[in-house]
């Protein structure tokens, strides 16, 4: 099967110019691939570079070497060398990212935060709102909160809005950065179900999950990030 994500020898080093140019090697020789319908979980201790790898795949962090091949609209695009507008296209049509924290925008209602990726994909406002509502309901966000901006919500509620926003679209790749970190057992179970549905729909996923039980339930394969340690 042709992989959705094919990373070869990717590497990342931070150079901190304000701290006398100190070099912080994060990862090197990062090589793995993810097939459609597969969930690969990155494992390894805190600070091993798991989040950095997700951010490199999303084009949020630059990649200093190697290639990050992603299947996008029938072609393979190398995120490591892609132009900004190509990466924006990849984010619109191919890769979704569920971050740990919601970057709240003032004044925008929770339901519209969730519906927005569908609107961008050309779905009508009515249908987008209906699907957003259904997903918020599944994630146990009470309907009376839907019209409020999520900046006023609790941490767990914000994370669920963020999860709904990430899972609502039909993108073929999803990156999940600790999607269950501040959720209770019931909501963790909903996220596990959502991941299973995405697998059945053929979505390729890369996840970071610290909760052993959730990891066990969603991981098809573990990739040990410690093996990519870039000891200077």
């Amino acid at each position: 099967m042709i992989p959705m994500i094919d990373i070869r020898n990717a590497e990342k080093t931070f150079v901190m110019h304000l701290q006398d140019g100190i070099r912080l090697p994060v990862v090197r020789n990062v090589s793995f691939h993810v097939a459609p319908g597969e969930c690969v979980v990155l494992s390894g201790p805190s600070g091993a570079g798991k989040s950095s790898i997700l951010k490199m795949i999303f084009g949020n962090y630059r990649c200093d070497g190697g290639t990050i091949g992603v299947r996008h609209n029938g072609d393979v695009i190398d995120i490591a060398t892609a132009e900004p507008r190509e990466i924006l296209g990849v984010r619109r049509d191919t890769i979704g990212y569920v971050s740990q924290f919601l970057r709240a925008v003032p004044r925008v209602a929770a339901i519209d935060v969730v519906a927005e990726p569908l609107l961008a994909a050309g779905v009508t406002r009515e249908e987008a709102r209906a699907r957003a509502g259904a997903l918020l309901k599944r994630l146990n966000i009470p309907e009376r909160l839907w019209k409020l901006p999520p900046s006023t919500f609790s941490g767990g509620e914000q994370q669920r809005v963020n999860i709904a926003r990430g899972f609502i679209s039909d993108l073929p790749i999803l990156l999940l950065d600790e999607p269950t970190a501040s959720l209770d057992a019931a909501n963790r179970a909903v996220v596990v179900e959502l991941v299973a549905e995405k697998k059945r729909a053929g979505v390729a996923m890369v996840a970071i999950v610290h909760d052993d039980e959730v990891r066990h339930l969603i991981a098809d394969r573990l990739v040990d990030v410690a093996s990519f340690a870039a000891a200077a």
């Binding site: 304000l18 990466i87 924006l88 004044r107 925008v108």
Partner: protein, 274 residues
């Protein structure tokens, strides 16, 4: 009340998909005697794309914006623009009348100080209507209707249509300036510190409104700002300027989250956490 739904700016490539850039700057430079205010700037701006130019005072960003918008002749290099008929023209070869027409129709320019972009003594309705008349509309009722709907879009009560902007607050003036610019449905809007000089709460409302409008209308925009938060909220791409040069460029979140150049790292690390 505007129906605010847009949460992040998406590239609106559907509206006018084209492989050709809308505006191209090639080796653009401006010198005043031996002082180089701006050196060797090259980039292409595509349809639906929002570019932020960031840097501190004196970095050359305003000089660059003036050259890009044909208000200042470059010492070297050139700016070309793809006109509505699809033909790409060098701004320097255009006549003054042609440039003015472009400015009144296909371009918008939002000044930091609304008084620069508005006529302060005439009514809000006339401020918006004037641009429509410049593109040949002459039906008073239609012009007033369009002006009313634009005031509503920028969250100004239509009851204020006959008041002059000098009676408006700073935030309202800025929103009126935006309405005046967008009423002719320009394809490219230049903005010079559009939220500068406004209270923080007023800034948030204005930014949110601008995001929505830019995304809904599929506008291209070039925004000069020293405020990285404005760049993050509004732009797809940033250019960081220092000493008249572009020192770093890329996807906005990439440059702000993973800055490479010493000066960019300094700018990013200088933001006070809220």
């Amino acid at each position: 009340m505007l129906d605010v739904t847009v949460n992040s700016i998406e590239m609106n490539t559907r509206s006018s998909a084209s492989a050709e850039p809308l505006l191209v700057a090639a080796n653009l430079g401006k010198s005043y005697g031996r002082l180089a205010a701006c050196r060797d700037v090259s980039f292409g701006l595509y349809s639906g794309e929002v570019l932020a130019i960031v840097g501190e005072s004196g970095s050359g960003k305003s000089t660059l914006l003036q050259m890009l918008s044909a208000q200042l002749a470059p010492t070297s290099g050139r700016v070309s623009y793809r006109m509505r008929d699809g033909v790409t023209r060098d701004l320097a070869t255009m006549g003054e009348a042609e440039r003015r027409f472009l400015f009144r129709t296909d371009w918008g320019f939002v000044h930091q100080d609304p008084a620069m972009g508005l006529r302060m003594a005439v009514s809000a309705g006339a401020n918006v209507g004037e641009r429509l008349m410049a593109v040949g509309q002459n039906h008073y009722g239609k012009i007033r209707d369009t002006a009313t709907s634009w005031l509503e879009r920028v969250e100004i009560s239509p009851e204020r249509i006959d008041d002059a902007p000098r009676t408006y607050s700073g935030g309202m003036r800025q929103r009126l300036q935006i309405a005046r610019n967008l009423v002719t449905e320009p394809r490219l809007v230049f903005m010079d510190e559009p939220t500068g000089g406004l209270d923080v709460s007023v800034q948030a409302r204005l930014l949110d409104m601008m995001r929505t409008l830019v995304s809904e209308l599929g506008l291209s925009a070039i925004v000069v700002t020293h405020d990285l938060a404005v760049a993050r909220l509004l732009s797809h791409r940033v250019m960081v300027m220092q000493g008249g040069r572009v020192i770093e460029t890329g996807l906005t979140d990439q440059v702000l989250d993973d800055p490479r150049e010493p000066y960019t790292q300094l700018l990013v690390s200088s933001i006070l956490p809220a």
